[in-house]
């Protein structure tokens, strides 16, 4: 097989496309975790986003409504998590797991009548430039608007967390809810907002799968990407820019194994698929050993219940 330059361009373009749902979901979860909330429901919120986006597309025949609707449904489903963990003070881990289990079940129930319906073609931008410029064409052009948004998101998130006052509030709430509360910040409200934002991004990530990446509805179609997104946040040590790099690595592994299967490469594909998970564990060990490193970006109160004495 020839590894000419235009093939590599197309390969990079497809790696970018496969990393989009990871970037979106992980960037959303990153904000949630930075506020001190560990939401293990990413997979559940993504799959709900996927079915509601696809269902709305079929019903309304309008892709804009479908995209916005998927984000809205992500918000609604994350509201369950927010209400339970913030207002009823339930355990984050258990509630998040329940959300994932519930979401997978509910999506299959809602999607029963949408199996086998063909999707609609999603408009791509700059498609003429894609063909005319070798190598850079397929990398930079001919993608959906969601992809461009996803690649801008980590930078926006980074700016938000580091340069804006609201970002500082989110970090304060995540690092020390008690002091933030004493400063007059309403910790519960901030956390609610971060949870709902995470829900919206996970919903969008799901809709990207069912509307753009593989335009159809299949039961359980997120196929563990939510868990990879969760791993990604840790892998990136809660830094938005590293989320982008990690998503490209993890997305690259997915694409690479498809091509390796095609050319009959000798490394078993399962070992490649296991790499993101193993790399995350290794990163966890490395950052956790050095307490200074983990303190740098890790939200100190991650997963702990905050309760304000009245």
């Amino acid at each position: 097989m020839s590894l000419d330059i235009s093939f590599i361009g197309i390969l990079i373009g497809s790696i970018m496309a496969s990393s989009v749902p990871l970037i979106l979901a992980a960037s959303g979860e990153l904000i949630t975790e930075r506020s001190g909330v560990l939401n293990l429901g990413v997979e559940g919120m993504m799959i709900i986003g996927a079915i509601s986006g696809f269902a709305l597309m079929v019903i309304t025949d309008n892709l804009f409504i479908a995209i916005v609707g998927s984000m809205f449904s992500g918000v609604i489903i994350s509201l369950i998590f927010g209400f339970l963990t913030q207002s009823l003070l339930t355990n984050h881990v258990a509630t998040g797991l329940a959300l994932t289990i519930f979401g997978i079940g509910l999506s299959a129930m809602l999607g029963k009548n949408f199996v086998g319906i063909p999707g609609k073609e999603f408009p791509i931008l700059f498609s003429s430039l894609r063909e005319s410029i070798p190598f850079f064409g397929p990398i930079l052009f001919g993608h959906s608007i969601v992809l461009y948004f996803a690649f801008a998101l980590p930078f926006l998130t980074n700016y938000f967390l580091k340069k804006t006052k609201l970002g500082l509030v989110v970090r304060a709430v995540g690092d020390s809810p008690v002091s933030a509360s004493n400063q007059g910040i309403n910790v519960i409200i901030v956390r609610y907002c971060c949870i709902l934002y995470g829900g919206a991004m996970c919903g969008l990530a799901g809709a990207y799968l069912s509307l753009i990446y593989t335009p159809q509805w299949i039961e359980n179609m997120t196929a563990g990407r939510g868990w990879i997104a969760l791993a990604l946040v840790v892998f990136a040590t809660w830094s938005p820019i590293k989320v982008l790099i990690g998503a490209l690595i993890f997305g690259g592994i997915t694409i690479l194994q498809l091509h390796m299967q095609a050319i009959g490469f000798r490394i078993p594909v399962q070992f490649l698929s296991a790499l993101p998970y193993l790399m995350t564990i290794i990163v966890l060990v490395v950052i956790s050993r050095d307490s200074r490193k983990i303190k740098l970006n890790t939200p100190t109160s991650l997963g702990r219940i905050f309760y304000k004495e009245k």
């Binding site: 560990l38 293990l40 559940g44 369950i80 339970l84 009823l88 003070l89 339930t90 355990n91 881990v93 258990a94 509630t95 797991l97 329940a98 959300l99 994932t100 289990i101 519930f102 979401g103 997978i104 079940g105 509910l106 999506s107 299959a108 129930m109 999607g111 029963k112 039961e219 359980n220 563990g224 868990w227 969760l230 791993a231 840790v234 078993p268 399962q270 070992f271 698929s273 296991a274 998970y277 193993l278 995350t280 564990i281 966890l284 060990v285 956790s288 050993r289 307490s291 983990i294 997963g303």
Partner: protein
């Protein structure tokens, strides 16, 4: 205290009501749909046997998890420990695929328990010596173990006469759990689960180790002050938990399945977390909870046949049970607050 064991029932009732509403919205007669879900599956002997068959692994895993959860160790990778236990146990069973002998099954079971134990030791050792978060490590390992199983059944362990199906050879009869009744699938693995219940009750409520586990769960500082060896305890609870999950895995492959393939568990390891909570981390509560949650699996299968709704709906019920259970805990919390207030008022 009574309310503590009563709220799970409230959660179950609310879940059934919630399920009825969802069925109604989807255009089914809610009463009829719920009947297909919760009554039809267990209205005959075969159904009851299937209920026990599904409750067995759930009960075993949840018993193991109760040790971890009681001591504030968040092992949520039981699914991985189940899978790895099944791989190790299945490997031993495949070694003896053409042999018979009374010693084979005990060896297979032991190998499964050890496999699960070793796999659970990974997050435990990383937690104790490298300070890593056990939630994330145990979760990541679930996928690693599933991919390893996938590699083995399509690659080196696949059945040479199996026309490239992703499965191993059938185990020999000596590696299979004895059936309790002819023509029913319920097998001797249920005694493993019952033994685990008894043993865990004894350890948790009658031994020093159990006391240490409970104290560490209530207050880590107290445990440290009392001089308990925290690190050893983390390793021990993870080993118990992993061994139980490994046993559950080996029970599935030597019981109803009889070989290794990709789908050895419909996420029993994750669902068992719900079972552990619903059973209030109490050995006998867990027996009850495992039966309830097993019924959601069975009900989903029945509803798929009679109402043509996807069997994933079982997960809607499982998720709802946990939601309502966690929410009803707020009542307990609230009640405690009220009582405290009253006490304070009395003092003043």
């Amino acid at each position: 205290m009574a309310l503590y064991f009563f709220t799970p029932f409230i959660a179950i009732i609310l879940t059934i009501l919630g399920g009825g509403i969802i069925f109604y919205i989807l255009g089914f007669n809610p009463i009829e749909a719920l009947k297909f879900y919760f009554i039809t599956p267990i209205s005959n002997l075969y159904g009851l046997s299937e209920l026990l068959l599904k409750a067995t692994p759930l009960c075993l895993i949840a018993i193991g998890l109760s040790f971890c959860f009681k001591s504030n160790n968040w092992n949520i990778g039981a699914e991985g420990q189940l899978t790895f236990g099944a791989i190790v146990g299945g490997g031993v069973a495949l070694l003896f695929y053409n042999q018979e002998g009374f010693y084979i099954l005990p060896l297979v079971i032991l190998a499964g328990a050890i496999g699960g134990m070793i796999f659970a030791l990974i997050p435990a050792i990383l937690k104790t010596y490298f300070n890593t978060n056990e939630i994330l490590v145990s979760l990541m390992l679930v996928y690693v173990s599933k991919l390893l199983l996938d590699y083995l059944v399509v690659g080196p362990w696949s059945n040479p006469e199996g026309f490239n199906f992703p499965e191993t050879r059938q185990f020999s009869d000596s590696s299979r759990m004895p059936l309790l009744f002819e023509s029913l699938r319920i097998h001797a693995g249920i005694f493993l689960a019952l033994a685990a219940v008894m043993l865990s009750w004894f350890i948790l409520y009658k031994t020093y180790l159990g006391f240490q586990i409970k104290v560490s769960g209530l207050s880590l500082k107290t445990a440290k002050y009392a001089g308990f060896k925290g690190k050893t305890m983390i390793l021990v609870v993870f080993m118990i938990s992993g061994a139980c999950a490994g046993l559950a895995g080996v029970g599935e492959i030597t019981g109803p399945i009889g070989q290794l393939h990709r789908m050895i568990s419909p996420d029993y390891g994750f669902t068992a977390i719900i079972v552990a909570f619903l059973g209030r981390l109490n050995p006998f509560g867990i027996i009850f909870a495992s039966l309830v949650v097993a019924l959601t699996y069975l009900g989903a299968e029945t509803a798929q046949i009679f109402l043509q709704i996807p069997k994933y709906t079982g997960q809607v019920f499982q998720g709802m049970i946990l939601f309502f259970l966690l929410a009803s805990d707020y009542l307990l919390f609230f009640k405690v607050k009220i009582l405290n207030l009253k006490k304070n008022e009395l003092r003043h």
